[in-house]
Subunit: 475 residues, 2 copies
Amino acid sequence: MSDPFVVVGGDAAGLSAASKCARESDRDVVVFERGRWVSYAHCGTPYYVKAEVDDLLSLTSLSPDEIDERGIDLRRDHEVTGIDVDAGTVTVRSRSREFEQPYGDLLIATGATADAPFEGTDLEGAFTLHHMDSAAAMRAFLEEPGTVDPASVGDGFADEALVARHAERDPPERAVIVGGGYVGVELAEAFSAWDLDVHLFQRGERLLKPFGDAVGETVADELRERGVTLHLDTPVERLRGTDDGELAAVVCGNEELETPLAAVGVGVRPASDLAAEAGIDLGASGAVAVDEYGETAAESVYAAGDCAEDAHAVTGDQAWVPLGLTANRAGRAVGATVAGDPTPVGTVAGTAVVKAFEQECGRAGILDHDDARETGFEPVSETITAGSRSGYYPGNADTTVTLCADRGSGRLLGGSVVGTDRAAVRIDTVSTALEAGMTVGEVERLDLAYAPPFSPVWDPVLVAAKVLNGTLDEE
Amino acid sequence: MSDPFVVVGGDAAGLSAASKCARESDRDVVVFERGRWVSYAHCGTPYYVKAEVDDLLSLTSLSPDEIDERGIDLRRDHEVTGIDVDAGTVTVRSRSREFEQPYGDLLIATGATADAPFEGTDLEGAFTLHHMDSAAAMRAFLEEPGTVDPASVGDGFADEALVARHAERDPPERAVIVGGGYVGVELAEAFSAWDLDVHLFQRGERLLKPFGDAVGETVADELRERGVTLHLDTPVERLRGTDDGELAAVVCGNEELETPLAAVGVGVRPASDLAAEAGIDLGASGAVAVDEYGETAAESVYAAGDCAEDAHAVTGDQAWVPLGLTANRAGRAVGATVAGDPTPVGTVAGTAVVKAFEQECGRAGILDHDDARETGFEPVSETITAGSRSGYYPGNADTTVTLCADRGSGRLLGGSVVGTDRAAVRIDTVSTALEAGMTVGEVERLDLAYAPPFSPVWDPVLVAAKVLNGTLDEE
C-alpha cells in the first residue's frame, strides 16, 4: 500500500481535503492537529461571545467520532514540527513522543495565526482573536461568576483552566477592541449585547478597509449610534497589566484607557513558517505559493486554506485572501486531486460579507484604486444609494452600492454593498459577474429579480452599473 | 423639425422610452395613453389590496405634471386605433375627436391584456387582474361601507363610479381567485390579511408553474397552512351572476362555490392587436417580433415591454417574458436609440420573484424539461435543500434550490429557489450565471458570500451546483 495522504491542520481546508479523499479513494488518510479543536467555524465565535449561539460545540461541523467514521485517522494534540520534502516525511510531536511519518501526498493546512502586534497580549483578560479558546474564555468572563461550568464549555475541547480562571472573575464593565476588521466589528456588536462600555481602536481612519469608504463610513455611523466609542487614527502602543498579570489598560501614546477586557484583532498572517522552514516557496504575500491544483513547488506537497495563496479572479495574480468558503473549496479540490481526480482549486473573487449590528456589508474584487493601478487597471468608481424594495413597500431601506471598473475596457473590477435590508447577499451578483469577467455594460443589462417586497425595478446593483457606465461613456 | 417620437402606452416601457429620449435629445416626444393611469407599478397592486400599501397613487412613479416637466407631451384618454406604417402616421381617438398623428419613430408599448377566459368576468364583484381600477375597486369592496371616499382613491385617476359602487357594498366574507400564477398567489396573501375565506382555483396541478415543482409544492403547502383552500386540477367553467348583475358563484362542472368576490388571473396575453392590424409581424408567442434594438419589421416602428418579444439569454430565441425590469430596460434602450445612440434592449433570463406569505420564491432561465428539449438541450435537474445561514446561527431556514443543466455541455439552463430567509434575491446569482453562459462546474466554483448571519459556508446555490455537477459526472 502506498504512503498515506497526510494533512497538517484539522480545520476547514484540512478536513475538507481528508473527507473528500477518504470518500473518493481507498487511500489511508491521516490528519495531524496540534490543538484539541477540529472542524470549527471561527467565523461563528463572535456570536458565541454575544450569547446568540449558546453552545460553543455547535460551531464545529464534525466531531472526532464523525471524522473517525469517515475513515480518517485524526490525531489531535499532534504537532507537525518539520517537513522533509526529499525524504517525503513529516516530523510529528505528541505529548509523549516524536516520530517521522512518511507521506505519499501532503497537505499543509495550517491556517492563519495572530502574531502579538505589541506588548501585553498575554495578559489575563487580553485575547487574540480567531481562536476557539479565546471565545470560550471571553464568554466565561462576561457571565456572572459561578454560572459557568468550565467542563461544559466545549466539552473536552476548550482550555479548561483558562475558562475556569475567567469564569471566576467579576464581569467587565468595559471592553476594548483593537482593530476594525471583520472580527473587531462583530465583537463590537457582541460586547454591546452585554451592555458594556465598548471602545474600538483602529490604526487608520476607516473601519473595514477592504470594503471601501462607503461601507466604512456607514459602519462607523452605525457603531456610534449603537453606543460604541470609536478611536480612529489611533494606534495602540501596548497593553498595560497589573502586578497580578491581569490586563489593566490600553495605552496609546500619553493616553490610556482602563479596561479589564481587550480583544486584539490585528497582526493576523498566514501560518506558513512550517512550509518556509522546509524550503517550500512562499508568495509575495508570505502565504504558501501554489499552482492551480493547490500544489506547492515541492512535489506532492499541497497547501490550502488560510496559509496559502489563491489565484484572484480579477487580476489572475496570486493573492492571500483567507476566507472560509475558499478554504473549504480548495481543501475539497486537493482531496479530489490526491484521490486521483485532478481538480482545480478555483479562483477567488475576494468576496466577503459581515454584519455590523443591523448593517449588512458585502465586498468583492478590487475596490482600492491603488491596488487596481498596481495591477495595470485604470480604475473608475461610482457610489449610489437606492432602495432595497419598491419605494411604496414597507421595509424599503437605503442600500449603498459602489462599483469599480477599468476605464479602458469597461471591465468590472469590484464592488461593495451596505444596507439593512438583504444587502449582504446582493454582493453575490457582483462576485458572479467578476468571475465571468463581465463589463459594467453587461452588468447594467443583467436581468435581475424584481418584486416589490424584495427589490425595486432597478436593483441597487443595476443602478450603480447604470451610473458607472454613464461615467465611463462621458470621458 | 422632424416628426416626433410617438409612444403608444404610458406605462413602464412607454414612459421609460419617452423620458430617455426627451433627456438625451431635443426631439418632440408624444405619449398617447388610452386610459387615465400612467407610470404605474401593477406589481404593487396586491399590496394595495392587502392594505400594506395605503395610497394607490404611491404605486405610480411619475405624475402627469412630472412627465410634463420632462418635456413629454402626454395625452391621457387618447387611444391609438390604427397605425399606417407606409404613411408614418397613427390614428388617435380622444373623447372629442379623431385625428392622424405623424411620427418619425414610433414605439408600441401597449402592454399585456387579460382576455375574458370564460363567461361572467364582467359581473359586479368579478375582476380581471393587473389593472389599477380593479385594485381600487377590490380594496373599496373590502373596506367597511362608508369608510372609503371614492374621490380619494387614485385622486382623479381611478374609475370613480366603479369604486363608489364597491365602496357601498358590505364586505365579502369569501374571496375566490382563479389562477395560481404570481398575482393569484399574491392576492391569496392579500385576501387572507382581511380574514376572508380564501379559495384558489388552478386548472393544472401546480401553483406557479414557471417556477417548477419544488417551488410549486412549497407554495401550495404554505398557502394551505395559512388557511387558503386550494382547488387544484380544477378548471373554472364560468362565473354565475345574480339578476342584479352581481357575482354569485364560481362554477366548475356540477359544483359551484358561492362568492361575491372573484379575481380572475388567467387569459393574459400580449396586447399586440394594434401591431398585427397594421401588418407588423408577430412572433410565435403572439407578441410583437423585434430585433436586438427593439425595432419591428416595420421601419422606425419599435415595440417594447409586455406586448413585445425579447431574446432569451439561454436559448437565444425570441420569447414572451412580460416582466417589469425588462419592460423598463427595453423602453429605456429604445428611447436612447431614437435619440441617436443605438442601444440594444438586452436579453432576458426570465428572472422572476414572488412572495407567497413568508415564502420567497425565485426562478430564472429554463426549468421545464420539455421546454429545454424543444430548444435542443438535454436537461438534467437536481433539487437540494440547504440552510440559509450557518446551522448554529438563529434564523437559519431551509432553502430549496433546483438547478437545471444541459448534459452534453454542462451549461446551466435555469434555476429556482424557495425559502423564508432571503431566498428570493439569491436567484440573482443564477440569473447572472445564465447571462454569462456559465457551466454548472463554473457555478460550483463561484466565490459567493459566507458569514454566519447571511449564508452558510456553501451557499444553497453552490450546494445545488455541487450535487448537479456530480450527477452530470456520473453518466
